[in-house]
């Protein structure tokens, strides 16, 4: 038996790694994905006033502080039994759309596009954002930087800071929007919509016009027939900020649709001895192992999962693209892992359009930004939003003084832990065969299986997929190293 380890070079500690076990014929038997998880955050919240939770959780990591802030804000509303005013809700959602715009732009151009624009087998020296810019031109690069910066500025304006977000109060927000600021954001949102349209066109021109890439998406080693999860509005359209969580089975049939406070009826979590990261699964279906199909409780909560779980998009241009994607890929649901990149761009367009809708709504400048707090004694509350990389659940319990006594978080990537592990194994099984030389291209093809999920391990893993230093170690049955492939 051979054992392949894909591991960041150990000069820096604490990275995730992939281990692939092969039999004597070189066929992959199993693959494990191990990640280090930051520990103790739920404990860290205990003993703190619940109204401070949304500010504290924004510091879990620098990647999606806005998502944690929003989920915590909603959980805190629920603890107090208060609903934010319509204006406060719109302001929160406006902030959140800007958060999605900046994050999805970053993932596509910096992390996903290199595989397609430069090519999955290209040298790592070229397969990065610099290589992308070299291919598509510096004007596009300048626009990437500009649109992300603008999205960050909107978040800083509404949230007080782009990462140290202090926006939410129980039942409201701290700061309103002036008419001049609204007009300014409205203009900027128009730019988001144009850039999102351009990004989809770029994907169309470079990826969908290339038969080899379409084959890779549809027929390559990247497909997983599992359940799909996503937050939907009252019309079952994708919604990032509010609504119910809908889950559809691998055939697209609704499995459940639950309110945040019901999540524990539908989701259970398990641990595996080799990973700190938990493995959530659908409770009513049960855990049947790392297997696909309707009888397995494994699900994905990703951009593709969200689109699969919904009946459409709530904005017109995104809806057009939604229909085009499913029509191109053979109907709903889609199980092609690499289609997540397309789904992410459709979400970018939705976020941009929704940002424009909200900024065009003059009610958003109303001074009515804080609901009156009821006299109810605080108790327990759940808040759910869609983070860029999956459904994010915050659940707090408090004492009668509003001090947190217990907290439970299911973060975006955790939902996808089983799916990511399975995608890696499947990719490895299809790519590593007897006689295949495991080189840089092979390593990257395996990385592509998990990169599509835009994973955020513990919200702060300190390495870079796509340019992550990797080492594959081939070992014989006695554990002797017989060959190393290394990428700095």
């Amino acid at each position: 038996m051979k054992r392949y380890t894909i591991d960041p070079i150990t000069r820096l500690e604490g990275h995730g790694k992939i281990e692939i076990f092969c039999d004597d014929d070189g066929e992959v038997i199993n693959a494990y994905f191990q990640v280090p998880e930051l520990r103790g955050f739920e404990k860290f919240l205990e003993g703190r006033p619940v109204e401070e939770a949304s500010q504290i959780v924004a510091k879990i990591c620098g990647v999606c502080p806005g998502c944690h802030h929003m989920a915590a804000g909603k959980a805190t509303d629920a603890v107090f039994g208060v609903k934010p005013t319509p204006t406060a809700k719109k302001l929160r959602e406006l902030f959140y759309m800007a958060h999605f715009v900046h994050s999805h732009i970053a993932h596509f151009y910096a992390l996903a596009a290199p595989d397609f624009v430069v090519g999955p087998n290209a040298s790592p020296a070229e397969r990065n954002i610099l290589g992308v810019i070299a291919k598509v031109g510096t004007e596009v690069g300048t626009e990437v930087i500009k649109q992300r910066r603008i999205a960050q500025e909107i978040q800083a304006l509404l949230g007080g800071h782009q990462t140290y977000v202090v926006m939410n109060t129980p039942g409201g927000v701290r700061k309103g929007l002036t008419e001049q600021q609204r007009k300014d954001i409205e203009e900027k949102a128009k730019g988001f919509v144009e850039f999102a349209k351009f990004s989809i066109k770029l994907f169309n021109d470079i990826v969908l016009s290339n038969k080899a890439y379409v084959d890779l998406i549809l027929n390559g080693p990247y497909s997983l027939k599992i359940y799909s999860m996503g937050l939907v509005d009252e019309n079952n359209k994708v919604n990032f900020y509010d609504g119910k969580v809908r889950v559809v089975d691998p055939e697209g049939k609704e499995h459940c649709k639950y309110s945040p406070e019901e999540y524990r009826n539908w989701i259970a979590e398990r641990v595996e001895p080799y990973s700190y990261l938990k493995f959530p699964y659908l409770k009513q279906i049960g855990w049947k192992g790392f297997v696909e199909g309707k009888d397995s409780g494994v699900y994905q909560a990703t951009p593709l999962g969200r689109l699969n779980a919904a009946d459409g998009m709530a904005t017109p241009l995104a809806q057009e693209e939604y229909e085009r994607m499913y029509s191109t890929l053979g109907g709903k649901p889609v199980h092609a892992t690499l289609a997540m990149h397309w789904a992410r761009l459709i979400e970018l367009l939705y976020a941009a359009e929704r940002c424009l809708e909200l900024a065009s709504d003059k009610e958003i400048t109303s001074p009515d930004i804080q609901a009156e707090l009821p006299s109810k004694i605080p108790g327990e509350g759940v808040g759910i939003v869609e983070a860029q990389r999956g459904t994010l659940t915050h659940h707090y319990w408090t004492d009668e003084n509003g001090i947190i006594t217990k907290a439970n978080l299911i973060v975006g990537t955790t939902n996808n832990n089983a799916a990511i592990s399975m995608s890696i194994k499947k990719a490895a099984q299809n790519i590593i065969k007897k006689g295949v030389t495991v080189d840089e291209g092979i390593l990257n093809m395996i990385e592509m299986a998990f990169r599509a999920y835009d994973p955020c391990f513990s919200c702060a893993t300190h390495s870079l997929p796509g340019k992550m230093p990797l080492e594959v170690i081939f070992k014989d049955l006695d554990g002797n190293v017989i060959r190393k492939v290394r990428r700095d």
Binding site: L38, T142, C456, T461
Partner: protein, 160 residues
């Protein structure tokens, strides 16, 4: 608003044990008042985000945490971009690395600092949420501050 052309940027997560050493040192240096013509900022951003922050300065000094194999906790390293590989935050899983960001800025003709220094402190614990340092770093913190302060003074003297 700070108008100096020198920025000291402490990078890290202040509630993640030793990971927050960069921001904490930066806050201490700001409080000390020793460096009059220096701007101080903190955050835990990387890659493209950093570009937005540093482009208005001619000189930038990052203070970040680092973990190396067999490194001695509390050791202070100084890098220039040309000899820098990665510290904990100037590499990012969800963004491009700092070096790539600098290369990108050059390619796009964005304003970037003339001089960039990275001061990295060898830490122990960055996986457990805590507002306090690990015992070793806590014990060595006064010495670390002193070392960093002296390095920044040296850099500033050379810049002037």
């Amino acid at each position: 608003m700070c108008l100096s052309n020198i920025l000291v940027y402490g990078i890290g997560n202040e509630i993640l044990c030793d990971d927050g050493i960069g921001p904490k040192i930066t806050s201490e240096l700001k409080k000390s008042g020793r460096f009059k013509n220096v701007c101080f900022e903190t955050g835990y951003l990387g890659g493209l985000e950093i570009l937005d922050i540093i482009q208005n300065y001619k000189n930038v000094i990052f203070i970040d945490a680092i973990k190396t194999i067999n490194g001695t906790p509390g050791t202070v390293y100084v890098f220039k971009p040309e000899d820098f590989k990665e510290t904990l935050h100037l590499s990012s899983i969800h963004d491009i690395s700092f070096l790539t960001a600098l290369q990108l800025a050059k390619k796009l003709n964005l304003p970037i600092p003339h001089n960039v220094y990275i001061i990295a402190i060898e830490i122990v614990e960055d996986k457990i949420f805590s507002e306090t340092f690990s015992p070793i770093i806590q014990e060595k913190f006064p010495e670390i501050i002193k070392n960093v302060e002296s390095i920044i003074a040296h850099i500033c003297n050379n810049l002037n």
